[in-house]
Symmetry: C2
Subunit: 195 residues, 2 copies
DNA sequence: GTGCCATACTTAACGCAGTTAGGTTAATGT
DNA sequence: ACATTAACCTAACTGCGTTAAGTATGGCAC
């Protein structure tokens, strides 16, 4: 029995080495300069070895992004647990979201900006919306619900509101990431809380 | 002189044939299934011929998207010229923007969602923000200014507001294009105009 | 210890991609 | 009639994702 366990451990280890090398390459060079062959060279294995651990390129990248997003979810949940004021919590979550996108552009792009078919080449994959991406919206939804419960936000469909916020955040990320003048930062105090 | 003109005309004609064939392929099959060779086969020329008209794949796609966006700009300007009420005009523009994105997903993706490096592989290309994309924001900005002039919108930085709206629209497009429940349509009358 | 078998990994290859170099043809200007 | 030039093509290079088939290795039954 022990030998199987060791083998499984080694297998898992190499798998995660591949993933982390892939992340490094992907983040450094971006999607369009990432290739299985370069990854293979980096990990000093033959290209085909990767296919013993991932069914194809899309699968590998999906795993990568899922992992990345799990981190964001974790951050959001930490924020939620640390914050006392619900509005502050929502604000911090929103900020964390945009900052995450800006600090992990490759991963953000991979999850949210690449055409579906690129990541989910095979039918039924489609990780972004149903996987960790949705968990992010859930986090926002909880923050929104919190605000509504405390009367800080007009009561309405929380999930819809969360999606609207997410939409805005996604847009903000795009604009802020570009060359525009929109800046991302703590709320300026020139105007009181709206709505 | 006339012979040069004829040549130039023919040249321009083939160029636009290439572009329209490319658009067809690109819209039908999406970015990741588009290839210069397939395009060549469709137009019944050798692959290398395309390179006599476009410096590379990124160049070709840039032209394609620039054209597409010119159409959107045109639509937006028509709307602006037809509308009497400035708020209606802004609303119609916003709706037109999102609808354009939904009805031309491949082009929209190409311009706004693909990583920069894919379209602007060579330095100094970067069509999306500085080209037609920016003209779209200008359109929105004019609509916003109109609303502000008429007192329908709190007076503030018009361009900044336009960018914020654009950001939200971009996000809405993304969410609405996915599997979420957010719907795009004329404003529901359950709540009065906000702000 | 010997033979067996699964597992891990590799080499070689296929088909397709973007792109370039060099050659061919045909129309034009002289 | 001849030289030039533009338009276009064939052939090839490099790199890609992926598959098929092979080789070594290390644990196991006898």
């Amino acid at each position: 029995m022990s030998v199987q366990e060791r083998r499984a451990r080694e297998r898992a280890k190499l798998r995660s080495e591949i993933l982390s090398a892939a992340r490094e390459l992907f983040v450094r060079d971006g999607y369009e300069n990432f290739s299985m062959r370069k990854l293979a060279e980096k990990i000093e294995y033959s290209p085909t070895t990767i296919y013993l651990y991932f069914s194809d390129k899309a699968d590998l990248l999906s795993q990568l992004c899922e992992d990345s997003f799990a981190k964001l979810v974790q951050q959001l949940e930490t924020i939620a647990s640390l914050t006392t004021d619900s509005v502050d919590g929502l604000r911090a979550s929103m900020l964390a979201y945009v900052e995450f996108g800006l600090k992990n552009p490759s991963n953000y792009q991979a999850i949210f900006m690449l055409p579906d078919a690129m990541l989910a080449a095979k039918p039924g994959r489609r990780l972004a919306p149903e996987g960790a991406g949705m968990r992010v919206v859930d986090c926002l939804g909880r923050a929104v619900q919190d605000c509504m419960r405390k009367g800080k936000l007009r009561k309405a469909d929380a999930e819809g509101t969360a999606q609207a916020i997410w939409a805005a955040l996604h847009g903000i990320h795009f604009v802020a990431g570009g060359t525009s003048g929109v800046s991302v930062g703590p709320p300026r105090s020139t105007s009181g809380p709206s709505r």
